[in-house]
């Protein structure tokens, strides 16, 4: 049966663990995987530009020895004016073995999956789902903390609009997390429905909300930073007042655990001071790198090649 990856829920926990395992295997010996996707074509359809995500997928496919066709933003595509997404996808799926798509409209990848002859991977639809970011976060945690279970995780910054944080929170909850510390200004608190969801579905996880990172940073095994956008604040004064509190710098890192890790989906705006880039606990660049390996594993799964080849 053909499978798509539209939202993190499309994968079971076991499937995620297997992807991580294979991603780590590729990471250790990328050469062994060169050529497993030879003769396969990836259609990389970016209806909205996102250089970082596009390059991550392109790099993953090229490292597997496959080919790429597609476009980097809707202006260069036939989809610019008039053509329905369904038509674009129907045609592109004749030209390729796998589709990776990013689209500004929420729900677009789900629509695409209904008309595609080949698997579709959602590389982000508006502020809705971004499952490969979640997979990237998971492989990073697994790589540095050895297991996904039993951690105390501090989520810092914009917890209201950042839906990739929402899906990471939901996913980590299913991996038996010990505690979530939610650090955000009042304006950007985790939405009520998610707090309720955690309370009802994972009552064993301790939840603590905090305003200041310095108050709680010493407890966290994982410090997950997010972008805080100025536009999210009601006024400039509030933003200036709060922005320092959400800036992770050397001083705050002194209070953090010795074995803690600092993650960030990148690009950062000014949530992380450059001075901590050299701190061994800062793993956000490694996180981007691991993102390529987990995408290689995912491409293998969707194409049923390499470790996923039918026996």
């Amino acid at each position: 049966m053909m499978r798509h990856l539209i939202e993190p829920k499309d994968l079971t926990n076991d499937e995620m663990l297997r992807l991580i395992e294979i991603g780590q295997r590729i990471y250790k010996d990328p050469q062994a995987y060169h050529g497993v996707a030879r003769g396969k074509i990836l259609a990389s359809l970016f209806f909205e530009p996102s250089t970082r995500t596009k390059f991550s997928f392109d790099s993953a496919m090229l490292r597997l020895g496959g080919e790429i066709i597609g476009f980097a933003d809707a202006n260069t595509s036939s989809a610019k004016k008039g053509e329905s997404l369904a038509d674009t996808i129907r045609v592109m799926s004749f030209y390729s073995d796998l589709i990776v798509m990013r689209h500004p409209k929420e729900g677009a990848p789900l629509l695409a999956s209904k008309y595609s002859e080949v698997p579709v991977i959602n590389a982000g639809d508006g502020g809705h789902n971004h499952p490969t970011q979640t997979l990237t976060d998971l492989i990073t945690i697994s790589q540095y903390k050895k297991t996904l279970e039993n951690h105390c995780i501090a989520f810092v910054g914009d917890l209201k609009y950042g839906r990739t944080v929402h899906s990471l929170i939901k996913t980590m909850a299913t991996f038996h997390s010990k505690k979530f510390i939610l650090v955000s200004p009042d304006e950007l608190r985790l939405p009520e429905f998610l707090l309720k969801y955690l309370e009802e579905n994972h009552p064993e996880i301790e939840i603590q909300e905090a305003h200041y990172l310095e108050d709680v940073i010493h407890e966290a095994d994982i410090i997950y930073m997010t972008r805080i956008q100025k536009e999210r604040f009601f006024n400039e004064a509030d933003y200036i007042k709060l922005k320092d509190s959400f800036l992770l710098d050397k001083e705050k890192m002194q209070r953090a655990r010795k074995d803690a890790i600092v993650m960030h989906p990148l690009p950062r705006v000014n949530e992380i001071a450059y001075e901590i880039d050299d701190d061994p606990r800062s793993v956000y660049f490694e996180q981007s790198k691991l993102g390529v390996y987990i995408r290689m594993a995912l491409i293998c799964k969707m194409l049923e090649v390499g470790d996923y080849a039918a026996r």
């Binding site: 997404l85 689209h103 500004p104 677009a108 789900l110 809705h128």
Partner: protein, 144 residues
Amino acid sequence: MRLVNSIKNGIVIDHITKGRGLRVYHELKLDTIENTTVLLMNVGSDHLNKKDIIKIEGDFDLNHEILGLIDTNITVNLIENEKVVKKIFVEVPEKVSNLIKCQNPRCISHTDDYAKPVFTLVGKNGELQYQCSYCEEVTKVKFK
């Protein structure tokens, strides 16, 4: 007292909350069909218990979703040979398509004709809340 004769074969939409009959009539687009139809308003002698009734003679494919969104007091009677052969109590629909527009402006359903969302009932305290199958945002429905 009956202003209009009862129907032989067809549908009676009964116990419509007083004042909503016209709304039901329009939402079902009864002005566009060939069947003989009757809208009765303020039926009943008891001052407090007046109701509206719609009768449709002949075959008609009734959309229960619409009724459920407008008024859950409604009961639908199917009539054959002047006898009620089936009585259906209208309920708030669990799934709705077509009748609701997603309130999320970023939703694909607004820009692509192929995207026809199905909405799932996720809450009904005071107002009905339906979740879009595409963007998963919740749209509140006030059909009054």
